[in-house]
């Protein structure tokens, strides 16, 4: 080592000593490791092509569409099966059991009711 630390040239002896201390044994495996990682990050590093963006969105999009379809079908069928029950449930608390409030003839008849009969019922006759 040179005597003066003010020396503006490289201190070869100190440099070689530090190099021996700091150098890693195997640069090759390190290089392979970095390149492998760079390959993994290729999309982030070099950017992504438009078809890769679309393909990336395709799978979650299909899943979301399938989930929405299943939810819609479920809602549709549950609405159909529950519609009768809800109508009955609204009417029942207001009327005595067994009465619908309208003459059974209006529902039992196969033909439409006579207009005079309906008016008579409405006017209380």
């Amino acid at each position: 080592m040179r005597g003066s630390p003010f020396d503006h040239r490289q201190d070869r002896e100190l440099g070689e000593t530090l190099r021996a201390v700091l150098s890693a044994e195997d640069d090759t495996s390190f290089v392979e490791r970095v390149l492998a990682r760079a390959g993994e990050l290729r999309h982030n590093v070099y950017g992504v092509e438009w078809w890769e963006v679309l393909s990336a969105w395709a799978r979650p999009g299909l899943v979301a569409a399938a989930v929405g379809l299943i939810a819609g079908i479920t809602f549709w069928f549950s609405g159909m099966s529950g519609s009768t029950e809800s109508m009955v449930a609204l009417g029942d608390p207001l009327l005595p059991a067994g009465e619908s409030g309208l003459p059974s003839a209006l529902f039992a008849a196969s033909q439409p009711p006579d207009l005079n009969e309906v008016l008579a019922l409405v006017m209380g006759n």
């Binding site: 080592m1 630390p5 003010f6 503006h8 490289q10 201190d11 070869r12 100190l14 440099g15 070689e16 000593t17 530090l18 190099r19 021996a20 201390v21 700091l22 150098s23 890693a24 640069d27 390190f30 290089v31 490791r33 970095v34 390149l35 990682r37 760079a38 390959g39 990050l41 982030n44 590093v45 070099y46």
Partner: protein, 183 residues
């Protein structure tokens, strides 16, 4: 092929060009990272982070300037950031190469102890001085280039190298005789 040409090719997506750059600067980057970080594994992680960060930032590299100082600045930043995070975690770890108090007469043991003492002396220096002395005396960078790496005035680099050399020489004085045989 020049570093700048490789950098341009790597920026355009040439993986071979990037591989060549990594091969050229792997040793240098790892040494600088090791000068900053206590653990060799952490140093390699920092060096790897630096190469990947450099790859992402190649568009900002000025090809009219040397590639080495540009890359070493990224390496130094990556190592410093990692060291800062370690400080935050406050994880105190004892290096497996801590100098042993037992006397070991064989050359291998002596060399390990010598290297350990030099590492200890290096780590006792402020971070910037470590990087400065390694870049100057080990990697052969000029004061001006190191000033660009560290983002400090050239005079500060000269001062850092001076103080680092003085501390290292003082610390290694006691190893003078064994060192001549084992390095």
């Amino acid at each position: 092929m020049e570093d700048a040409e490789l950098a341009a090719l790597a920026h355009a997506g040439d993986r071979e060009a990037f591989g060549e750059l990594v091969r050229r600067f792997a040793g240098q980057a790892r040494r600088v990272a090791r000068a900053v970080l206590g653990s060799d594994a952490d140093a390699d992680d920092a060096a790897q982070d630096a190469f990947l960060a450099a790859l992402k930032s190649l568009g900002r590299y000025d090809p009219t300037r040397p590639f080495g100082p540009w890359l070493m600045r990224i390496v130094a930043n990556a190592a410093t950031d990692r060291r800062r995070r370690q400080k935050v975690r406050a994880a105190v770890q004892i290096s497996p190469q801590t100098p042993s108090t037992e006397a070991r007469p064989d050359q291998v043991a002596l060399r390990l102890e010598f290297h350990s003492a030099l590492k200890t002396a290096l780590r006792s220096l402020p971070e910037r001085r470590r990087i400065a002395v390694v870049l100057f005396d080990v990697e052969g960078y000029s004061h001006q280039e190191i000033a660009e790496v560290l983002n400090v005035p050239v005079g500060t680099v000269r001062s850092d190298v001076f103080h680092a050399r003085r501390a290292l020489r003082a610390a290694l004085a006691q190893w003078k005789n064994p060192k001549e045989e084992i390095v």
